[in-house]
């Protein structure tokens, strides 16, 4: 059975898997962004807390994903979505936290000083001035995290997770038979396509939400 035959017979299933793949990544990156933004906001003005947070989230990224999936299952998260989402959230933390901190520290101190001098309180300054100015950098972190997660999510098939990883693992198991290669190829290319599509969506979001009036803007 060739690739085209396979695709023409199974395109509906492939699309469903691709949708699940995108959804699990988007859900995880959204949860990760909430956690990472909080971590970044809580620590960016404290050098020691900052380096602890970056150290811990950085270590997270060095754990091999297969090991982390296994670990999470043995911790009682079961199979399927839960271990995959938790793992993906953990992997998204470093890029988003680091960019949040970098973005917030990159705001011209003269701007925050004049905001403070005009009587804007801490919280208002953060929400009205600092976060909007740091947003392009934060969003760049979210894009990097998304790109990483699309690949790692594929390996989630090992714990019965959602998405196109299923096709890849099935294909690799059956490489000896003629049905194996189309499966693996579809899964691999599909993952790449999902990655490109999500990146395009985020790039569009970056263009739409970039603070107006700020030069330098967003680059593809």
């Amino acid at each position: 059975m060739g690739l085209w035959t396979y695709l023409s017979r199974n395109w509906a299933d492939v699309l469903l898997l691709a949708r699940d793949h995108a959804v699990v990544v988007l859900v995880s990156v959204t949860l990760g962004a909430v956690v990472a933004l909080s971590l970044g906001v809580a620590t960016y003005r404290r050098p020691r807390a900052r380096s602890v947070v970056l150290g811990v989230t950085g270590t997270m990224l060095t754990i091999p994903s297969l090991a982390l999936y296994g670990l999470l299952v043995s911790l009682g998260l079961g199979l399927g979505w839960p271990p995959v989402v938790v793992a993906l959230v953990l992997y998204s933390l470093l890029p988003i936290t680091r960019n949040t901190i970098t973005g917030l520290l990159g705001v011209d101190p003269a701007i925050t000083e004049s905001a403070q001098g005009m009587g804007m309180g801490r919280w208002r300054r953060l929400v009205r001035i600092e976060l909007p100015l740091a947003w392009p950098v934060i969003l760049a972190g979210i894009r990097i995290a998304t790109a990483i997660l699309v690949g790692i999510a594929a390996l989630g098939a090992i714990v019965n997770g959602p998405g196109l990883g299923d096709l890849i693992f099935n294909g690799l198991r059956r490489l000896a038979s003629p049905a194996g290669l189309p499966l693996a190829l579809t899964g691999t290319v599909g993952v790449a396509v999902v990655g490109l599509l999500l990146d395009a969506v985020l790039l569009g979001l970056a263009r739409l939400t970039a603070p107006r009036g700020v030069q330098g803007g967003v680059h593809g």
């Binding site: 003269a110 009587g119 700020v214």
Partner: protein, 394 residues
Amino acid sequence: MAEAMIRLEHLTKRFPGQDAPAVADLTLSVPAGEIVILVGPSGCGKTTTMRMINRLVEPTSGRIFLEGEDVTTVNADRLRRRIGYVIQQVGLFPHLTIFENIATVPRLLRWPQPRIRARVDELLDLVGMDPSQYRDRYPAALSGGQRQRVGVARALSADPPVMLMDEPFGAIDPITRERLQNEFLRLQSELRKTIVFVTHDIDEAIKMGDRIAILRDLSAIAQYDTPEMILSAPADGFVEDFIGSRASLKRLNLARVGDYELREWPTASTDADRPALLATLRASGMGALLLLDAAGRPRRWLHPGDLQREGAALSQVGLPVNALVQPQATLADALNEMLRSQVGVAVVVDARGVYTGTIDMGVIMAAAETMRRSAHAASLSELAASDAERSPRA
């Protein structure tokens, strides 16, 4: 001295991890409606002192009074909305329009929208920027001078009685700086705000200040006096060194062009015919005529040779008029312009650029002579006063 708008009592600031305090036991009164300059060498604590007034730096000990009210421990954010704040880097919010920038404090104070809109337009007008043209722009589209104007408008937005200005014109090119200084003095003559102004530039201090506090280390006041008295009777060697050796040249910074009688200069309009102009010029005994355009703005210097040459239009011949000063300019500015002019006089124009007269070396010499005499008299009476204080004990 008018009633004190700001009073600092025994203010001290120690930063953590530093042995010496940054400011030690400073007491200072700022009279209502005056510009008080804090000037001193870098690191003397002048900026720290100013930032304690709006509590961007919290004092370690001492008290701060604003309009007679002890504000040392009131809510700092609410205090800051009563005090305009302008810094050297301006710090406009780049992601907000000029309108939104200026509306910041009125919005914090929850003014109704129509009032905010009217106020922003009024302020843009006040700083010489057309509201309809600039309201919706972003700061990146403005020049450095325009940004600083918006910075001043933003600080004035809720009409605070007090403004703090930290080297507001420090990062601007010299020509624009001079213009902004003059504009600001003109504004202040209408607004009568109480202003604390930090600079390290003694010339700027002399030009802008009603009163100058010269600070040495730890924000200790070496002398707190009017510019005239500081120049003519420096309190000690430190002040003398800080003023520098050219006190008489600096005194020219105290006198404004508008305070002196201007000299008339023979002028010509662009539609006059040449033989008549030549006759006027010869009769005046001057070396050149000043050509004015239809609105009365100076255009060219016309020498006899230019008038004899036929062909080119009057507005195309002669030399450009590049030495222009406004009435708020100091004699030092005027002297500087004069030295740049090929004709040896500075042309005085009003705010719209219309010719009002000229100022030449004779005016400067006469002014310098008068100031030297009155400074001499002032220091003599100062001496007499301190003698009188001493004599009972002698």
